[in-house]
């Protein structure tokens, strides 16, 4: 088991390293860089001082005149020391921006993930056990509705409803008086009060990546369990005289969880990317909108920092789901698959 964890950890570090190279290259692929953007702005503002000389000087100041691999190695060295570079747009440390926004994204994604599990697991099980019943058809119908409605539309509807019936539009994650306040119990409660709408929208909606939504996980669980319920080991357990409920949880559900959990590992990144649209509509202080803006502004260190942290989270998420799988299924643990 320890060998397995050690081997997986090594692959994890390797994967993150490869991702960091690809990100860095891709971010720089669009023509121009931050300096050419500033030059454009200056020209548009009517300034005539945008001389090639100034451009060169700015590039040299930001280190953008060096070849890409040098920039990459410098950046990587800094990141390893915990320095994520400087934001051109905000004139702050990129690290500061990332740590300000990322926890909010994480809370939102994690909340949505819990909602996805809490809803899709029991509903999927119910659907499979009572297949072709009215309840199953209703759940299936709702799942397809959830799959078909875009999450930003759901967000707009929630916004409208909360304004019409709740008296105030539940925009953002905090009430105005708490936005800049230090963390207190009251602020935490205020966060919870605002959090449920985006959690429901991201969890229920069809997120961009696809596997994140409750609807899909529910259908996956239903299909898996229906397969498992036909397996001979279920007959064996039943022929032993096991009560139905205990039998269901001990055997087929645990079998059906294997593909379910490997999907959940992938759900985390798609929840984070699915959040962007919702965060823009609901004006949430999460990382999605900032990342989008940074990419448009060619604010490369902020963008690269976010993407690096995302990819670490994703790889760790997949690792955790693999550990869960190994715990559930001894065939994986003992390397027999």
């Amino acid at each position: 088991m320890w060998k397995y964890i050690a081997r997986r950890s090594f692959y994890m570090i390797f994967t993150v390293w490869v991702i960091s190279i690809i990100t860095f290259v891709v971010i720089q692929l669009p023509p121009g860089d931050y300096v050419s953007k500033i030059m454009n702005q200056m020209l548009q503002a009517g300034g005539s001082s945008a001389t090639p000389h100034l451009e060169e000087a700015l590039r040299a100041q930001y280190g953008l005149d060096q070849p890409m691999y040098v920039q990459y190695l410098k950046w990587l060295g800094n990141v390893l020391q915990g320095n994520f570079g400087h934001s051109f747009t905000y004139l702050k440390d990129a690290k500061e921006i990332i740590w300000q926004r990322l926890p909010m994204s994480f809370v939102l994604a994690f909340g949505s993930l819990i909602l996805v599990i809490v809803l899709s697991l029991p509903l999927g099980i119910y659907s499979a056990v009572n297949k072709y019943s009215i309840g199953d058809y209703f759940i299936t119908f709702m799942a397809f509705v959830g799959l078909a409605v875009p999450s930003f539309l759901l967000a707009l509807i929630c916004l409208y409803l909360s304004y019409k019936y709740g008296g105030q539009a539940l925009i953002g994650l905090f009430s105005p008086q708490y936005v800049d306040a230090p963390w207190t119990w009251a602020k935490f409660l205020d966060l919870l009060r605002h959090l449920w709408i985006p959690v429901i929208i991201v969890g229920l909606g069809s997120s961009v990546g696809g596997v994140g939504g409750t609807a899909i996980q529910l259908r996956v669980m239903r299909a898996n369990l229906m397969d498992e319920l036909r397996k001979p080991y279920v007959d064996t357990a039943r022929a032993k005289g096991m009560p139905e409920g205990r039998l269901l949880w001990k055997y087929p559900v645990r079998h059906a969880m294997v593909p379910f959990f490997s999907n959940i590992g992938w759900a985390l990144p798609s929840l984070i990317s699915g959040e962007v649209l919702v965060a823009i509509v609901l004006n949430l202080p999460t990382s999605g909108p900032i990342l989008l803006q940074a990419l448009m502004d060619q604010d490369m260190y902020v963008a690269a920092g976010f993407i690096l942290v995302y990819s670490i989270l994703t790889v760790v998420g997949v690792f955790i789901s693999d550990l869960l799988l190994a715990w559930i299924d001894p065939r994986i643990r003992l390397g027999r698959m």
Partner: protein
């Protein structure tokens, strides 16, 4: 006179599918005596497995017992006998669960998939023991090791903590047998327990079942399509065709004096060592679709002795002697004539 353990009367099991009703079992009668081995023989799809599943009420949807009785004569510790109609019990109820595994237990065709790969062998046997007794975990574990030892598994105290997927097919079937017998049942249903095994393992498993049957004195209902196995293990034989038992009798009756043309054809289709390949007589035609059951006697389209009336009249059960019955129009006259003679004398 031996004691009756299970008596099936006019059992009907239908599958209500979208395409129509499949009459998988169409009124069968069967008697199983304490300590005896009954073989249920037939081609694939004749309803023999469904029949065996129905005794434990574990038929899969959309299958349902639509009518008939399955009277189980349960012996209480004080020596009296209770009659329970298994067909009337709720499949999810407590009563049938007390019988499953404890009094009637079952082993299946596929030892590779009949055990869950997610739990150790021990976990699955101990579970069976503790469902039906008040044994503690340690006691149950000791019993489980003892059972594994009895079914001839080497190093049972080590193997009990292995996962099923590390064992061979034969070993898994031994584990299944150990699990099935762990609560000392009065009847074991073995649904083609050797079909998925290779020939030498088959013989070992058959010997094991017979040996344990003598030790424990349980009845065995053996479901198979292999007449070689029938000859080896059976006391009584029931031959099934398309949901009906066409002939029933002792193993001697069936092999030495088969009456029904289907039984005769089955026996002729077994290859023997000193036989030329051309002498083998396969049964002509195919098993008809369960949706289009032939009128009259359902075997008549494939029967070499079919008469015109066979397509119109459903044969009744005809008694050849006390424990040999057949459902075939060829014998109905014989029997009624005998009855008339008996009445006259």
């Amino acid at each position: 006179m031996s004691e009756l353990l299970l008596e099936v009367k006019d059992l009907k099991i239908h599958f209500f599918t979208d395409e129509g009703v499949v009459k998988a079992v169409e009124g069968i009668d069967l008697k199983i005596e304490r300590g005896k081995t009954v073989c249920l023989v037939g081609e694939s799809g004749c309803g023999k497995s469904v029949t065996s599943l129905s005794f434990l009420q574990i038929i899969h949807a959309p299958g349902k017992i639509v009518s008939g009785e399955m009277v189980y004569y349960r012996q209480t510790p004080d020596g009296t006998t209770w009659e329970i109609d298994l067909a009337k019990l709720n499949p999810k109820g407590r009563k049938i669960r007390e019988i499953r595994g404890a009094e009637i237990s079952m082993i299946f065709q596929e030892p590779m998939t009949s055990l869950s790969p997610l739990y150790t062998v021990g976990n699955q046997i101990i579970e069976a023991i503790r469902l039906h007794s008040k044994a503690t975990k340690d006691e149950a574990r000791k019993q489980a090791i003892e059972m594994l030892h009895r079914v001839g598994i080497p190093n049972p105290d080590r193997l009990i903590d292995e996962y099923p997927f590390t064992l061979s097919g034969g070993m898994r079937q031994r584990v299944m047998i150990a699990m099935a017998l762990s609560c000392n049942p009065t009847m074991l249903i073995a649904d083609e327990p050797t079909t998925a095994l290779d020939v030498t393992t088959q013989a070992e498993i058959l010997d094991l079942i017979q040996e344990l049957q003598q030790q424990y004195g349980m009845a065995v209902l053996f479901i198979t399509h292999d007449l070689g196995i029938v000859a080896e293990v059976a006391d009584d034989v029931a031959v099934m065709y398309l949901g009906k038992i066409v002939e029933r009798g002792s193993v001697d009756d069936i092999f030495n004096a088969p009456k029904h043309p289907y039984t005769q054809a089955l026996l002729h289709s077994i290859p023997k060592v000193a036989m030329k390949r051309e002498d083998l007589e396969p049964i002509q035609g195919m098993v008809p679709s369960p949706f289009r059951r032939p009128n009259g006697c359902s075997f008549h389209p494939r029967c070499s002795k079919a008469m015109d009336i066979c397509s119109q009249i459903v044969p009744a059960v005809t008694a050849i002697d006390d424990d040999h019955t057949v459902q075939c129009l060829l014998y109905e006259d014989v029997a009624s004539r005998a009855e008339v003679e008996r009445a006259q004398s």
